[in-house]
């Protein structure tokens, strides 16, 4: 099982690659809506991408109010 830091790192890499944002612009505590410039539909895309990558199921109500990568990583880590 990956460590929390590894999970966070994989999320940042995935988000950078999927939304074509330079990886160095993404930091763990950044607001992903702002740094990725994504809307609600694209957020669902990110969720699906993460679920497919980590092979987990993440109910979207658990993400209500989550807007930074670190908290997102902790939600995924809890399901690995």
């Amino acid at each position: 099982m990956p460590t929390s830091d590894q999970t966070l790192d994989e999320i940042l890499n995935l988000a950078a690659s999927h939304f074509k944002v330079p990886r160095e612009k993404l930091s763990p505590d950044a607001d992903f809506f702002k740094t990725l410039g994504i809307d609600s539909l694209q957020t669902l895309d990110l969720l699906t991408k993460l679920e497919n990558h980590f092979r987990v199921e993440l109910p979207d109500y658990e993400l209500q109010g989550v807007s930074d990568f670190r908290t997102l990583a902790s939600k995924i880590q809890a399901r690995l």
């Binding site: 609600s40 539909l41 699906t48 109910p59 979207d60 993400l63």
Partner: protein, 279 residues
């Protein structure tokens, strides 16, 4: 793939970008393409176009063996009912008039969806991205759902104080059972294509951008079978739950008149929240 198009179709609406949808017939396969921005929301214009399609479908059934429904919009198959239109129309009317308008809309769209559901053709929904609410319900009318691995399904209606109104509950119950309906309906959560395949909703999960290709390959396979046999098999295995569909309309209309619904719709329409699609 597209060798010829039937002349009759040119009289209707093939590839008219002003229309929310268009259809073609080639090699015995009717393809219904949805292409209304932002994500094929189903409002009055889409309903009129769907009604025209349903009329054409009945005429074309003798020339075809399969129907594929897909979206040409990047963000997804269909985000469901046009809630902005529903809200604005309802707001401009007396409550009784608005309720009557909603019932009329539901009865009309049920008529179209029941025709697709009961079509003697083998029907395939090729979905990707957002397949929510009424969009999910449209996919559920099809015999098979082929999903791109980025597809996502959801019944978000409860957050508006409503239930799905386009036949989703009876059809999902028919196809998968009551427990799955309860999970989706009562939590309002969305789930991905892999999960959808695990629970038996989706027949094939394919790579990103591959759902239409896979649906076409499936349609080509269907051509090998005797049509009358395939239609008889479908009639045997896929009854239309007419009574429950009618009760769904009644329940939707009963719920629609409550003040909580107007508040829910207003919140959705006016929301600048980054996550309005999340339940």
């Amino acid at each position: 793939m597209h060798a010829t198009r039937q002349p009759e179709l040119h009289e209707t609406m093939p590839h008219d970008r002003e229309s929310p949808l268009s259809w073609t017939l080639a090699d015995g396969v009717i393809e219904l393409a949805l292409h209304r921005s932002p994500c094929n929301e189903l409002g009055s214009v889409s309903l009129e176009a769907l009604e025209k399609f349903a009329t054409a479908l009945q005429k074309l059934e003798s020339e075809a063996h399969a129907l594929i429904i897909h979206s040409q919009i990047k963000s997804g198959f269909c985000a469901g009912a046009d809630l902005r239109e529903l809200y604005l129309r309802s707001k401009s009317m007396e409550q009784s008039e608005a309720a009557k308008g909603v019932r009329d809309f539901l009865e009309r769209i049920h008529h179209v969806l029941n025709l697709i559901d009961a079509s003697p053709l083998t029907t395939i929904a090729a979905v990707h991205g957002v397949t929510f609410g009424g969009g999910f319900e449209l996919a559920l009318t099809c015999d098979l759902i082929v999903a791109d691995k980025m597809a996502r399904f959801c019944f978000p209606e409860l957050r508006l104080g409503l239930i799905p109104g386009f036949g989703g509950i009876p059809r999902l119950k028919r196809d998968l059972g009551n427990a799955v309906v309860r999970d989706l309906l009562l939590t309002g959560r969305s789930f991905n294509a892999t999960k959808a395949q695990q629970i038996g909703l989706v027949s094939q999960v394919v790579g990103e951008g591959e759902s239409l290709r896979a649906a076409r390959a499936t349609a080509a396979q269907l051509k090998k079978f005797d049509r009358a046999t395939a239609a008889a098999a479908k009639r045997f295995i896929k009854p239309i739950p007419h009574e429950e569909l009618k009760r769904e309309i009644d329940l939707f209309c009963e719920l629609f008149t409550r003040p909580a619904v107007e508040a829910g719709l207003r919140k959705f329409v006016e929301s600048t929240d980054a996550q309005p699609y999340l339940p």
